[in-house]
């Protein structure tokens, strides 16, 4: 069994809502509300959920791009929220992120070579003379050509920009990469190129990915295990085959049945959820899903269900299971 690389315990991230002349805090948006999981070396953990469910915030809080409200994150056994600035900085190259929007995440005034090489120089990982070699190596691995390093981001298509984003993460030789919707902004035929690239790189370098996406089909393809989030909390987490074949939480079931499958002959039973996602500033009591759940019972509106292992590493938070 591979070593545990990342351990997240009861992570919470609340954003204050300020109002009035004095900007008093009148409430909190509970973007991440008590999330716990582990990630092993070389593993891909997929995170799915609808917009606003806190999957991106979770990713960013784990990297300490945002400060936590509560809980802890252990990376290689060290609690990253207890590290000093200097220690944190030395660990940063090992934890990278690839962003969703390849248009706004690259500095338009820098050449591709500068974008990819910047962190190498800043962290002093290699000597000045070696920077170019490392950049070229990374760029080739991501399927771009050497002459591209003198160009600017606007000269590239969306798919190519995403490759630049990946090269920028890759060049630091990281262990853990948060992929925050890396293919959502791309066309179908380009999506598969990027997904394949991410898979190839993982095989070669043994990266661990936290793969965030709202596309359940893509997440299933790329992940080893998948977690489903709803309103800031994990409701289910299991091996992907287990999760997709045997979903236990009513939300996971509804989510899976809602995904359109490109086969017109297939007739499926579809669970159509009523209503919208409640506001995370004022989440429902008890189980957060009870307002839309077709199987709701009395206990669901009163008690928060525990996120527990029901066997074989299949975690679920539901009173009915």
């Amino acid at each position: 069994m591979a070593e545990t690389l990342l351990k997240v315990e009861n992570l919470k991230k609340y954003f204050p809502i300020k109002a009035g002349v004095f900007q008093r805090t009148v409430g909190y948006v509970k973007a991440v509300d008590d999330v716990s999981f582990e990630l092993k070396e070389g593993e891909t953990l997929g995170f799915v959920g609808e917009s606003g469910c806190g999957k991106s915030t979770t990713g960013r809080t784990i990297l300490r791009l945002l400060d936590k409200t509560d809980g802890s994150v252990y990376f290689e056994g060290k609690d990253i929220f207890k590290l000093s600035r200097k220690e944190l900085r030395s660990i940063r190259p090992k934890m990278q992120i690839i962003f969703q929007d390849p248009y706004s995440s690259l500095n338009p005034r820098m050449t591709v070579g500068e974008i990819i090489g910047e962190a190498l120089v800043d962290h002093g990982i290699v000597s000045k003379g070696e920077v170019k070699d490392r950049v070229l190596e990374a760029i080739e691995m991501c399927g771009l050509a050497p002459y591209h390093i003198r160009r600017y981001p606007h000269e590239f298509s969306g798919g190519q920009r995403q490759r630049i984003g990946i090269a920028r993460a890759l060049v630091l030789n990281p262990k853990f990469i948060v992929c925050d919707e890396p293919v959502s902004a791309l066309d179908v035929s380009i999506q598969s190129q990027i997904v394949n690239l991410l898979c190839d790189l993982q095989q070669k370098f043994g990266f661990s990915y936290m793969f965030i996406s709202h596309d359940l089909s893509v997440v299933k393809h790329i992940s080893h295990r998948v977690g489903v989030m709803y309103l800031g909390s994990l409701v289910e987490l299991a091996d992907k085959h287990e999760l997709y074949k045997n979903p236990l939480h009513p939300y996971t079931k509804a989510l899976l049945s809602a995904v359109p499958i490109p086969d017109p002959t297939l007739k499926r039973e579809r669970i159509i959820l009523q209503g919208d996602i409640p506001s995370p500033a004022n989440p429902p009591s008890g189980c957060k899903f009870h307002t839309r759940c077709p199987y709701k019972k009395d206990i669901c509106s009163q008690e928060i269900p525990k996120f527990r292992d029901v066997g074989g590493g299949h975690f679920v938070a539901c009173h009915l299971v």
Binding site: E50, D187, V188, Q191, S192, S217, V218, A254, L255
Partner: protein, 324 residues
């Protein structure tokens, strides 16, 4: 089923400083009454421009319908005057856009915006139109319709806004509903709600739908007939069962294989190499040949024509020339 709309050899070009962009290049398609036509393709393939051309919503300049006919109800819309086309917009043909956020006017209430169309096209007074607006909102499954009618767009969620858009589009009982990526901006569970609603309304009112999307899953669920577009051209056309069972054009095949499918396991995704060509600098011959694994000599020289290979299955590819 009679033909409701037929587009023949439509060419919509954009004249820019850098050159002419052939956004829609010789596209022919037709929609029968009560049918849902799915138009699939990647961004920039001209699917939205085709739809906009139908209602003459192309900004001119730089855009212009250069050639072709759009026959709707026996009339050529390309030759219609502004006055005539205005009577058709929102009345016999209406549109649902992708972004429910930007396609509703933020300074008018939902009710105002629905009532406007009803008063304009149906000779109703304001009170009657308001009642009708509330009925429409109920029809699309909005709870508390009599309150929502006075709400502003920002007060509604994305799914609700899209429902309001559909209510507005359906208010005048259109014969044709053009839905331009109606669910792309929505979450899957909300998408399922909206698709369900559209199917329901179609069965109730027998409206034809032109559904523009890049999601093959949505097409499989909604469409009766499918048109696949690439770089401004139709590359394949068939009924929905045929196209998923027996896709012929290498591009269609590539699209189908490059998407991970929920109920199947694949070790590796097949991907189409390269990217969509620059519209200012289209390759010679078949536009798809630089990305095609089966490209032959003739593909680099000659542009294939869309021809019928089987009953109702048409494809534009040199591979199938002899079969004809």
């Amino acid at each position: 089923m009679g033909e409701l709309l037929s587009i023949k050899n439509l060419k919509t070009y954009f004249y820019t400083e850098d050159g002419v962009i052939k956004a829609v290049d010789d596209v022919s398609l037709s929609i029968r009454e009560g049918e849902t036509l799915g138009v699939v393709g990647e961004s920039g393939c001209g699917k939205s421009i085709t739809a906009m051309s139908i209602l003459k919503l192309i900004p001119n300049p730089p855009g212009k319908i250069v050639d072709g006919e759009i026959i709707f109800d026996g009339k050529d819309l390309t030759k219609a005057t502004d006055e005539e086309i205005r009577k058709i917009r929102g009345n016999k043909i209406s549109v649902i856009f992708q972004e429910p956020m930007t396609s509703l006017n933020p300074v008018f209430t939902i009710g105002d915006q629905i009532i406007e169309a009803i008063v304009l096209h149906q000779n109703m007074n304001k009170e009657k139109a308001r009642e009708k607006a509330i009925d429409m909102l109920k029809l699309v499954g909005i709870p508390r319709a009599d309150e929502v009618v006075d709400a502003y767009p920002h007060e509604l969620s994305g799914g609700m806004r899209q429902r309001a858009m559909i209510a507005m589009a359906m208010a005048c009982n259109p014969k044709l509903l053009i839905a331009d990526e109606p669910t792309t901006a929505l979450d899957v569970t909300i998408q399922a709600q909206i698709l369900d609603l559209m199917r329901d309304l179609k069965n109730k009112t027998n409206t034809s739908i032109m559904l523009i999307t890049h999601d093959l899953g949505v097409v499989a669920e909604m469409a009766d007939h499918v048109v696949v577009m690439y770089a401004g051209k139709v590359v394949e056309e068939a009924n929905v069962y045929e196209i998923f069972k027996n896709p012929m054009h290498p591009y269609t095949l590539g699209l189908l294989e490059s998407k991970p499918i929920l109920n199947q396991d694949k070790d590796r995704l097949n991907s189409i190499p390269g990217q969509v060509p620059n519209p200012l600098n289209m390759p010679e011959g078949c536009y798809f040949h630089p990305r095609c694994s089966k490209a032959m000599d003739i593909c680099r020289r000659e542009q294939p024509e869309l021809c019928s290979v089987k009953d109702g299955h048409r494809v534009a590819c040199h591979l199938y020339r002899e079969v004809k």
